[in-house]
């Protein structure tokens, strides 16, 4: 620990706080600073992670013994649906967005994102979407048809309450938030890199952000259309998914999964990017096969659009379609495998320091492999006929999303927390958190493989004592309780360390990328002078001498002055409340559609007012 805290100070003589920021509520409400927006995303997403965790705990406790009556079947259906929706859209995606916001501009040597107000808009719109999606707990009942909402149980006839309307409108609004953010990051990454940072010198996390953003921008329009059709079916009486009106329920499945499969890569690629940053830092070796890791990420993104019907192998697509999608799915395992071997290659012969971040990143590899193996098994249509809609799938999902995404993102939290807060998280508490989570996660989810192969279907609210599933359900629930303990310790660690953690200087980990060259926390303008970069590991070049560059020593950034290149004062964008107003406009439209149409019309005017004021706001 001491060794880490005294690693070469790069740009900061004294620890802790540079200029004191305005910390008023209004400053947070009107912020357009990517670092603050990142914190907003991070805190919100973590709260929703806890909400999703509570929903999961209720599910698992209901299933802990056979014939349990903790919750009734209707509530159980809402819990399973909302657990998935909350975790995917309100926890994992926004937590990823938090990392995009905090790390990407810093890693490319930029002072902010390309469109700071659009960035703020994304966050507030996300909150609006989260509110709509969860409104059912307050009034009318939550969506209860599973997170993928297969038609036509979602029709007005079979789901008469407002639950599925919260689903269509909530996801639609969340889609707007994601699209806005993704467009922002595409422009930022392509157009705001520091001089010398070619695409192939970008950190892998930035590459994964770019690929993920392109996936979002191309996949979300599809779910937008699907949700419009579902909303029209429910509210106006069309029959896009209604067989009695001539429609085809399977069209929903196609549209949902054309979105849904890229969506799962949207969930995993950023975590893979985080792992690709952590492993080299704590192995004190460059990432093995940087080019291959990047190309694999791009290949995964591209192939993601060609495999969607592997979610539909049990729907009777026919042998040609089945074979085509099976082949494409197996193909996608190749770039994934390439990444795994490159990560192992990074660790190989490295001088490894097992900080908590490193523990999570290394565990990610192991646990993700398990999830990947069950995934490859799902690539086989005949196997899927048995596995589909059983707990085998649930096992796969949680190994890749919990063991994969969440482990990667926890690693990222431990890694970048010092940069954001100026303090290190406690390593001892961190290690306890890690081991409880690692052990708890495997106890919770590995038995689900057995349950699935044993025939236990998904989303059943209870089971008979004679099914033979009792033992592993009990074990699985106990694993979840372990995870809960670990999470509580994590929360305690954060709360304590923000005030009392060891002060972190600019570069506590002796890392290689640009964000570690500025103070922790960074000043509002990030870099006093935009650095010039000559490799993918600029800080290692500056600290230890470049292997192959003559420019590397010329432009190391210097802390202290608030002045830019020519002694000019650096102008940062002004705060603004128009992004919030515009997001509120969307909220008013959505709630108007749900409850009172005149309000929706007012909402349209509010939206236009917000957009107009935003467009003509003076650039201070």
């Amino acid at each position: 620990m001491a060794a880490i805290a005294s690693a070469p100070h790069f740009a900061q003589e004294h620890g802790g706080h540079a200029k004191e920021h305005d910390n008023s509520l209004w400053s947070w409400v009107t912020t357009v600073d990517h670092k603050r927006i990142g914190i907003l995303y991070g805190v919100s997403s973590f709260l929703f992670f806890l909400l999703g965790g509570i929903e999961a705990s209720l599910i698992r406790t209901q299933l802990i013994v056979p014939n349990n009556r903790l919750v009734d079947p209707d509530t159980f259906n809402q819990l399973t649906t909302m657990h998935a929706l909350t975790m995917v859209f309100l926890a994992l995606m926004p937590l990823t967005a938090a990392f995009f916001n905090i790390a990407v501009p810093l890693m490319i040597g930029a002072r902010d994102v390309a469109f700071p107000r659009l960035n703020a808009f994304s966050y507030w719109t996300f909150l609006v979407g989260a509110l709509i999606l969860n409104f059912g707990w307050i009034y009318g009942g939550s969506p209860d048809s599973g997170w993928f909402a297969y038609a036509n149980i979602t029709s007005r006839q079979y789901s008469p309450g407002p639950g599925m309307d919260y689903y269509t409108l909530g996801l639609q609004v969340l889609g707007v938030a994601s699209m806005a953010a993704a467009l922002n990051f595409i422009v930022t990454i392509l157009n705001m890199r520091a001089p010398g940072m070619t695409l192939m010198r970008m950190p892998v996390f930035v590459w994964m952000t770019l690929v993920t953003s392109i996936l979002i921008v191309l996949a979300f329009p599809v779910i937008t259309v699907a949700l419009i059709f579902l909303a029209l079916d429910r509210m106006v009486g069309t029959s896009f998914f209604n067989p009695t009106g001539g429609g085809d329920p399977i069209l929903w499945q196609h549209l949902f999964w054309i979105f849904g499969h890229p969506e799962v890569y949207i969930l995993i690629l950023p975590a893979m990017g985080v792992v690709s940053e952590i492993l080299p830092t704590f192995s004190r070796k460059p990432l093995f096969g940087y080019h291959f890791v990047v190309y694999s990420g791009v290949a995964i993104g591209f192939l993601a659009f060609g495999v969607w019907s592997h979610h539909m192998f049990a729907t009777g697509l026919g042998p040609i379609a089945d074979s085509g999608f099976a082949l494409a799915t197996m193909l996608i395992a190749i770039p994934t495998g390439v990444k795994i071997f490159n990560w192992i290659g990074t660790l190989w012969d490295g001088a490894i320091r097992f900080t908590t971040a490193m523990l999570f990143a290394t565990a990610f590899i192991a646990v993700f492999i398990v999830g990947g193996l069950s995934g490859v098994m799902h690539a086989s249509p005949p196997a899927v006929l048995q596995q589909s809609a059983t707990y085998f799938i649930v096992a796969h999902i949680h190994y890749v999303l919990f063991g994969g995404t969440i482990f990667g993102l926890f690693g990222g939290i431990y890694y970048w927390f010092p940069k954001v807060s100026g303090r290190l998280l406690s390593e001892s508490a961190g290690k306890v958190h890690f081991w409880l989570t690692m052990v708890g996660m495997n106890i919770a989810f590995f038995p689900m493989h057995f349950l699935g192969l044993d025939g236990m279907p998904r989303r059943i609210y209870t089971y008979g004592a004679d099914m033979g599933w009792s033992f592993w359900n009990l074990v699985s629930t106990l694993g979840v309780y372990l995870i809960i303990v670990g999470t509580l310790i994590f929360i305690g660690n954060i709360v304590w360390s923000v005030r009392s953690g060891v002060v972190a200087f600019s570069d506590p980990w002796d890392a290689a990328t640009l964000e570690w060259s500025i103070p922790s926390p960074p000043p509002e303008h990030n870099f006093d002078r935009i650095p010039v970069v000559a490799s993918a590991r600029p800080l290692w070049d500056w600290k230890y001498g470049a292997a192959h560059s003559h420019e590397s020593h010329a432009h190391a950034p210097i802390a202290g002055a608030q002045h830019g290149d020519d002694g000019e004062h650096i102008h940062m964008p002004n705060p603004s409340y128009w992004p919030l107003v515009t997001a509120v406009g969307l909220a008013v439209i959505a709630f108007g559609i749900l409850f009172w149409i005149p309000m929706a019309i007012f909402g349209v005017f509010l939206l236009f007012f917000g957009i107009n004021s935003w467009a003509f706001e003076p650039a201070g």
Binding site: L251, G318, A321
Partner: protein, 104 residues
């Protein structure tokens, strides 16, 4: 403000003239007329589909290259747009094949 000779045209690359824009418009009109003619002339049989596809694709390319300035702009914008287009076309093709071709 610094001196400008006006927007994107101040950069050193070529830029269509109004005359060229009008020429493009005339070509677009002719292609549309050909499309309609092809539709009415029943001689082509099943070939009418690829012919119509090629004709509307040419209109698409003309508008994109000249009116949307892609021909004169840095290639990244063409890549972004064509990328989206390719994925969209592949998806349409895939859905069509699944519904009307091989399955569903």
């Amino acid at each position: 403000m610094a001196e400008h000779t006006g927007g994107a045209a101040s950069a050193a690359h070529a830029h269509p003239t109004i005359r060229q824009y009008i020429v493009v418009a005339v070509i677009l009109t002719i292609i549309t007329a050909v499309e309609v003619a092809v539709f009415y002339i029943h001689w082509f049989g099943v070939f009418v589909y690829p012919i119509l596809f090629v004709l509307s694709a040419s209109k698409f390319v003309l508008v994109g290259a000249y009116y949307m300035h892609l021909k004169y702009d840095p290639p990244v914008m063409t890549w972004l747009f064509v990328g989206g287009l390719v994925i969209a076309t592949a998806t349409i093709g895939g859905l069509w094949a699944l519904f009307n071709g091989f399955g569903g």
